[in-house]
Symmetry: C2
Subunit: 197 residues, 2 copies
DNA sequence: GCCAATTTTCAGAATATTTTGAAATAAAAC
DNA sequence: GTTTTATTTCAAAATATTCTGAAAATTGGC
């Protein structure tokens, strides 16, 4: 876009740096359960800094049109890439959020919604199967079950384990909520953690 | 182990709760880039609460001996499962860490070592390719490069993007370090975040 | 309405990951 | 040492995931 000649050493180095960044980002994402190509498309858009169309993305990464289309849609659903219309061009353009902190919060919000919330619900349901101490159903009925079976102790040990897991996930959930809400939540957290030896 | 008869309703419910927990844990792990079976084996050991041998794990999950062996080794390498020898038994037994916070810190330490640290190093190397402002190589040599090419502005915009990414990863790294070090770091963080509106 | 440009969809192909099982190795018993 | 039991290894098979490409659908211009 900006420069035509790419024998300029600066341009070649820039291209090399971009490619390295894209590869890095894709690698890291796939470590964390995000499809490599999805992260690479995001990286291309992020590092370009300006809107790109589907063909730019396709040739930038050497992927098919179908793949580019599906991946761009997924990125939009995640809320980290947005559509732009450029005047006088019929194609659609896409641009990535440039503010890393905003990006982080968006991803966190999405993962909480898709993963943490359902997990919490399921864990609570699981806990209710063997209710003791807290609320829940369990079996037949009223106060004091039929007989204290041989497994009574093991049920209580089991419940203690599930409860500690629940407490852990609830804490993660609560921290996520705060980070999602507060603009500079992470920086704040780091500062606070630093003070508290 | 504890109870022989499993027509006891309590025992059936307990089994059901265990199975649900195992499935949940496996599902969640695979969302976060950890092989499902690895998490399931960990879950079996965690929820059992007592040491189990390879055959117990195999039949508990319906996996092959080879798979159980490899997965148990991987869990040991992660440091979240340990080997025990039981008196009068020739088989090896395995047990999972029961303290969730300890478990969390162990996993965090390992992921930092395997993923964050290499990422940081690579990002810094990438940044050095296009050095401006900070240190680094770049090209030929002395002060003031040959000519200010057409891409000068785009290089600086690129550097700004990489720098913000670097700052972000450095913050994640620093927070991880603190959480790994401090016993109750997460609870602390949550409390602090709660106070700071 | 039509036409051309662009985007989406999805069955099948390509790729990557995980699992098996049996042979090889190791460890304990004697 | 031999025998028996337990564990590890790894090539091949099974499974799961991701990608392609061309047909179908959509969109914008007129």
């Amino acid at each position: 876009m900006v420069g035509i000649r790419d024998h300029e050493p600066v341009q070649r180095t820039l291209r090399e740096a971009r490619d390295r960044f894209i590869a890095l980002w894709g690698q890291m994402a796939s470590n964390w359960g995000i499809p490599r190509t999805m992260a690479e498309v995001h990286a291309v858009l992020f590092i370009a800094g300006e809107p790109m169309n589907t063909d730019d993305v396709m040739e930038g990464l050497g992927i098919s049109r179908g793949n580019a289309s599906m991946t761009l849609r997924a990125l939009q659903e995640w809320g980290i890439v947005s559509r732009v219309h450029l005047r006088g061009d019929r194609k659609e353009y896409f641009q990535a959020e440039q503010d890393i902190w905003k990006l982080f919060r968006t991803i966190l919000r999405e993962r909480k919604k898709r993963e943490i919330d359902p997990l919490l619900e399921a864990l609570r349901a699981c806990r209710n199967l063997t209710s003791t101490g807290s609320g829940g159903s369990g079996g037949a009925g009223g106060a004091g079950s039929r007989r204290i079976g041989p497994g009574r102790a093991s049920v209580e040990a089991h419940n203690a384990r599930i409860d500690s897991m629940l407490a852990f996930v609830e804490m993660i959930d609560s921290i996520s909520q705060r980070l999602i809400a507060s603009g500079k939540g992470l920086q704040l957290a780091a500062k606070l953690l630093a003070k508290a030896s």
